[in-house]
């Protein structure tokens, strides 16, 4: 394709033509009313801008709306789904209140999951500790001191058996927040289902598995990008055929944002990742309408209320239009962007932690007004450590109050048609397309990652914000304004016992398992890894059933594919 005329730049061109009004009403108001007022009352008229560096006017009018607003909005459940992906939205079914949990030992996690189920949580979510996220066993030299610290430790299928003890895998939907070794954890989940005689077609859940954003933001990888992408492809093809209710990827902007990006960078980089996965599925020979409906997204909801709402509305519209126009998706379900949202961890302060409840409430409201399908609300003590039971309960109650007391769920897309929100949605969309265009000109998202471009963009945004905070141009209540003397809050502590228990369990497994079976299954897995046309998932399932450990499995890949070093960012 001619680089100067790619799909993105053409769309961008047409977007820029969608407003041809001259803002006469605003201009004359400013001249006749606002300016004289400011002059006489000596108001300070400083410029306002949001995280995406979009300069905000004092007020918006109907002249700020697109000429094609009707087509660009659609109605709820109709193309391009700006107002929501379902006709009935929350009047039909509330969003899923999905609280991220998992810490310490599998026993602790099992208890926490059951506690949340008994308090009305409707979906399970599991966090893993750092060694697990990097594909290391609890007895690895590097794991010392880290076992069970940031989530649950899983070294073998045995741990998964304990986590889900007494929980019916055919009835729950489980979300596992893991990326680099996602295929191994998926294999464990499937193996567990098979052992419990739950057919794979009934297994519902989500694994994050979005490796691109790891290179961009969270920095948890094991191999070079190509090796991980191959594993995602394998999950894609396997699940499309065998586990249709399992979301094998959750394309995530959350971490991009937490790494310091702006809202529009989160939007653009996440969707660019999404388009890459679409390309990959098509290249693997899958029909876009067969796999696109299983892709789901995960966004951050930060503190700038309207910016977040506009971001989510723009995301839905971009996804639907690009899937239809560029990828020729025919089925409506392929065009629907389903997404999970988590309130921002970065906006929480360790100072005056109760303020975090208020921040989380505002962010959760934005997610609901933005039309999210599921929501995690952070706990007020999370700037310090993993949340305590009490803090988690308040966070869950926050969602319940929004859902059942506030009236926010009564009317679909209540902000639709707001001059400001619609204008901002358009702005987010255009700025995202500018990034899509630039990324394409750089040779695609993989090149943009390997050259460090995306990482540098994020680091630059994050540093700029830090300087604004230092100068007090941006406010964090309790941290750089209205500061008080602080008292430490009580926090959850993971004892070293977790590590000792895990070590013992792993030792027992290694002693009692059928070693010959482990070796055989690992040998077969190695051969499959060396053959790029083989699908790895069945081999992984065999290996985990034989109680091969996470690290034994990932080590084969380490030998075959090697590791990966990112370019120097600063």
């Amino acid at each position: 394709m001619d680089q100067s005329e790619n799909y993105w730049s053409q769309r961008l061109e047409s977007m820029r033509l969608r407003r041809d009004k001259i803002n006469s009403r605003y201009n004359s108001w400013k001249k006749d009313t606002l300016n004289p007022w400011n002059k006489s009352s000596r108001n300070i008229t400083e410029e306002r801008r949001n995280s995406s560096d979009i300069i905000l006017r004092e007020v918006y009018t109907e002249e700020d709306l697109s000429n094609n607003i009707d087509q660009e909005l659609g109605m709820p459940g109709t193309y391009p789904f700006t107002r929501g992906i379902y006709p009935n939205m929350y009047r039909g079914k509330l969003w899923t209140m999905r609280m991220f949990s998992g810490f310490g030992t599998p026993e602790d996690t099992n208890r926490r999951l059951k506690y949340l189920i008994s308090h009305g949580e409707t979906g399970l979510s599991i966090a893993f500790d750092m060694p697990t996220l990097y594909g290391l066993d609890c007895d690895s030299k590097r794991s010392d001191g880290e076992v069970g610290k940031c989530g649950v430790s899983v070294s073998s299928l045995k741990d998964m058996e304990v986590i889900f003890r007494g929980i019916d895998l055919g009835k729950v939907s489980t979300s596992m927040t893991i990326n680099a070794p996602a295929i191994v954890l998926t294999a464990m989940y499937f193996a567990l289902a098979q052992k419990k005689h739950v057919p794979l077609e009934n297994v519902a859940g989500t694994v994050q598995a979005d490796i691109l954003k790891e290179y961009i933001a969270q920095k948890e990888w094991i191999y070079p990008p190509e090796a991980h992408l191959r594993m995602i492809r394998d999950m894609m093809t396997f699940c499309t055929k065998n586990a249709p209710k399992y979301n094998y990827i959750s394309i995530s902007g959350y971490h991009i944002r937490e790494a310091g990006s702006s809202a529009v960078q989160e939007l653009a980089f996440t969707l660019a990742d999404g388009f890459y996965y679409i390309d990959m599925g098509i290249e693997a020979g899958l029909d876009v309408d067969r796999f696109a409906p299983r892709l789901s997204f995960f966004f951050n909801s930060s503190i700038n209320f309207f910016e977040e709402i506009a971001k989510m509305r723009a995301a839905r519209r971009i996804w639907a239009t690009v899937l239809k126009e560029k990828y020729g998706a025919k089925k409506e379900r392929s065009l629907l962007m389903r997404f999970h949202t988590q309130t921002s961890g970065y906006t929480l302060t360790w100072q005056q932690p109760m303020n975090n409840i208020v921040r989380t409430t505002i962010e959760a409201m934005a997610a609901v007004l933005g039309g999210t399908q599921s929501l995690h609300t952070n706990s007020y003590d999370e700037a310090w450590a993993l949340p305590s039971d009490n803090a988690v309960k308040v966070a869950l109650r926050t969602q319940q109050i929004i859902a059942e007391e506030s009236g926010l769920a009564d009317v679909i897309d209540p902000l639709g048609g707001s001059y400001y929100v619609e204008w901002l949605t358009d702005q987010m969309e255009e700025k995202a397309f500018e990034y899509f265009d630039r990324i394409e000109r750089m040779g695609g998202i993989l090149n943009a990652i390997k050259s460090g471009y995306l990482q540098k963009e994020i680091a630059a945004t994050s540093y700029k914000r830090q300087i604004r905070l230092e100068k007090g141009e941006e406010v964090m209540v309790g941290a750089n304004k209205y500061v008080e003397d602080e008292h430490p809050i009580s926090i959850l502590r993971i004892s070293r016992k977790a590590q000792d228990m895990q070590l013992k369990r792993l030792r027992d497994i290694k002693r009692t398992r059928d070693t010959a079976k482990v070796t055989r299954s690992l040998d077969r897995l190695r051969k499959a890894m060396e053959d790029p046309d083989e699908n790895l998932l069945p081999f992984m399932i065999d290996a985990v059933k034989a109680y091969a450990t996470l690290e034994e499995i990932t080590n084969i890949g380490r030998e075959i594919y090697g590791g990966w070093k990112e370019p120097v960012i600063v």
Partner: protein, 150 residues
């Protein structure tokens, strides 16, 4: 006067800092912000990259003869992992490189870290200027030791 003295201590060789996250922790947002902030405060800054081992951190600190090692962890493993770095330094008899810490460190842990010689231990939301001032103070001590001034 402290400012004047430190000026001459660092006149020909700016404060040299090594930023490192020696655990299994890829949250590098803060590292990048600090790297740029330290540079903009006139320091020479090294970043140890992702997942360095405690040995790598100490080797780099020695070969580069830094004044301060600035450790950060957000994964709750600071008591174990920071200690490994401090222990290695002790084992090699290095007393002229200061160690400071930061990350998600609860108040209760600060005295324990301080006993290992790791100071600062600032949490999220700490003003950069506070961190820079602390690093400068520790760098001054370290530099005086290096020059045999105390």
């Amino acid at each position: 006067m402290v400012a004047g003295k430190s000026q001459s201590l660092f006149k020909d060789r700016p404060i040299k800092v090594l930023l490192a996250k020696p655990g299994i922790d890829g949250h590098d947002r803060g590292m990048f912000v600090l790297a740029k902030s330290f540079r903009d405060a006139g320091m020479d800054v090294l970043y140890a990259g992702l997942l360095p081992t405690p040995e790598e951190v100490v080797d780099t600190a020695v070969n580069e003869d830094v004044d301060v090692i600035a450790l950060s962890l957000m994964n709750g493993a600071h008591l174990t992992v920071f200690k490994k770095v401090a222990d290695l330094m002790k084992k090699r008899g290095i007393t002229d490189i200061a160690i400071v810490g930061g990350g998600t460190i609860p108040d209760q842990d600060r005295p324990k870290l301080a006993r290992m010689g790791i100071t600062g231990n600032y949490g999220p939301g700490t003003p950069i200027s506070t961190i820079v001032e602390h690093v400068k103070r520790r760098a001054e001590e370290a530099r005086k030791r290096k020059l045999g001034l105390n």
